[in-house]
Point group: C2
Chain length 334, copies 2
DNA sequence: ATTGTTCACGTGAACGTTCACATCGCGGTA
DNA sequence: TACCGCGATGTGAACGTTCACGTGAACAAT
């Protein structure tokens, strides 16, 4: 920087002003400085700036990295993309840390925590909640994106409304016995279950008993759960899996056992991953608008970092029901 | 740091030694320093370290971000994951920049270039080659991952061998007329085409003429290309699409037009994306081992950064043929 | 007893920015 | 003429590390 200053015949401070686009520099001087910068291939050093300003202009993002669990992939990538465009708009960078599931959630964010190289943290809920209290106490601004969370500001899709829309859609088609394939925990699928039940209630229909089977969000678990549900004395006429992966599994079970979709049984998923549109028949699902989720989370984080008006503890973004060919009126209806 | 030093009754330099795990510190002193660090919640500042060492211990990674092109997603995510585990192992961080396709490839890496906040760059080939010469000249160590590239060290899968394996597999099953659906450019599919042709040559079979149709790696283009190929006077008995997305499109065309897969027509894809295992029937494809690709690229970048023995200009990693249910002997064979 | 060697630790400078403040012209006003 | 105000620019310190030394004590070898 001092070299540039010397070349342009000004002081280092003037160079700084030019670099930061501050006012109070004559056009002539600015041009001379810019020319010197170019000819010396000068690039300002982020380190020194961070040192004196106490800000790195980088935020960390922690995402799970599970090679086996391939379903959430495009959700994740969109989340990252959305957050990054928002960050880029403000000149921030994104330091990404992928975390092997089960590899100790703490380690992933400790990576940033250790040396102060981020101004804040974006955490995808899939990384596991165990490290979050620790994290919240560390003093970093943190936003959780994915599930609802009570200690830390979070932004997540409106699971309840999304599930409500699916069940409402199926009820409107004429289905009365809708089987559900839930997630492994109440945290992961509680809201979706509530939405499902509320749709029944609002339609003044009695919720059929014993038409719920737990899964773990994998294709195989959806396959197994569909088998159990369809073996009931009064099998359901529609299956609502709480994510697309399990819906694909259900689709497979039905095909292998001679049930036509949607002729015999309708199937709906959740998340609207890329695979939803690719399987046969294309899957009715709920889009979570991952890009918006990521973008919103980044905005929230900026509010936290800049200590603007205290941001809401919880931000809920609506999903959108995407009706495809896997749902239709039940056989013999109308 | 000086506060910690005072609290522990030592000099700042001793604290530095403890932080960096350097030798020459008594166990007693070390414990005292560590205790002081903990009680003061001290975390070393990466900025200052980067300032004096001239290294940020962060590398940038540039990936394309195309919401519509959902197929490469899990490839991309695995690439990122692989690179990140390698980086993490050496204490490095990954600064990610997602780039909207067509949004000016230059802008994505300029983000790092502008302020010197990375030690090197990992560039996914999908971001487009236009910015690379510029990039190579910028003085950063750069590794391109994905396609082969002549100006910059690169690591990419062995497309030719992968395609060779697919065609060899189909020929061994008894197919003679194998239709191919290629990518939009020679850059993207030249090697795969060569592998395909070499497999014919090695099997001493004549390559059937006019059984190649271009696509653009989207599902729809695969659908259209399959339609064109199957409308030939002598239609192929097997389709080899140069990525999974187009293979899925082909699958759809065949289903809609009453051809059984693999009964009437076999279908093979390329890349072994998550969707390959999900569609019906599951798709024979070629796994690129994206995680290894990412890891290898990171290793190469470290060689460049540390100026170790000059790394190879081109690193080729073999793919693996994954045979699933979409390929079988042609009707009436054996 | 002297010298040398090793080890633990301290000292001051340097890295490349920004911040707070000082200075220099210059035009206008009393 | 003397003074004020203001906009453009310069000055020195500070940020929190690491680096290249310097120092002193303990101990061994002569």
């Amino acid at each position: 920087m001092r070299t540039v200053a010397a070349a342009a015949g000004v002081s280092h401070q003037t160079v700084s002003r030019v670099v930061n686009g501050e006012p109070g520099v004559t056009d002539g001087t600015r041009d001379r400085v810019l020319a010197a910068m170019r000819s010396l291939a000068y690039r300002p050093g982020a380190g020194a700036r961070a040192l004196v300003r106490g800000r790195t202009e980088v935020v960390g993002m922690v995402v799970p990295h599970d090679p086996g669990f391939t379903f959430a992939n495009d959700h994740l990538l969109r989340l990252i993309g959305g957050a990054d465009t928002e960050l880029a708009a403000r000149g921030y960078g994104m330091l990404l840390s992928t975390r092997e599931t089960g590899g100790g959630a703490a380690s992933a964010y400790r990576r940033f925590d250790r040396r102060r190289l981020v101004d804040g943290l974006l955490v995808e809920a899939g990384v596991g909640a165990d490290a979050l209290p620790d994290l919240a106490a560390s003093g970093y601004p943190v936003v959780v994106v994915g599930y609802t969370h009570q200690d830390v500001p979070c932004v997540h899709p409106d699971d309840e409304a999304g599930a409500y829309a699916v069940t409402q859609h199926l009820l409107a088609l004429g289905h009365r016995r809708i089987g559900t394939v839930t997630g492994p925990s109440a945290l992961a699928s509680g809201a979706r279950l509530r939405g499902h039940e509320r749709a029944y209630a609002d339609a003044r229909r009695r919720l059929p008993a014993d038409l719920t089977e737990p899964g773990d969000f994998t294709v195989d678990s959806g396959y197994a759960a569909a088998g159990r549900l369809m073996s009931r004395r009064h099998p359901p006429t529609a299956l609502f899996a709480f994510n697309d992966g399990m819906a694909v599994g259900a689709l497979r079970w039905l095909r292998e056992h001679g049930r036509a979709v949607p002729g015999d049984v309708s199937v709906a998923g959740f998340d609207d991953t890329a695979a939803a549109g690719l399987v046969d028949p294309p899957l009715t699902s709920v889009s979570l608008h991952s890009t918006d989720l990521g973008r919103r989370a980044a905005q929230l984080l900026f509010d936290l970092i800049d200590e603007r008006a205290d941001p809401p503890r919880e931000t809920v973004l609506p999903g959108t029901l995407v009706v495809r060919a896997s749902t239709a009126p039940p056989r013999g209806h109308r």
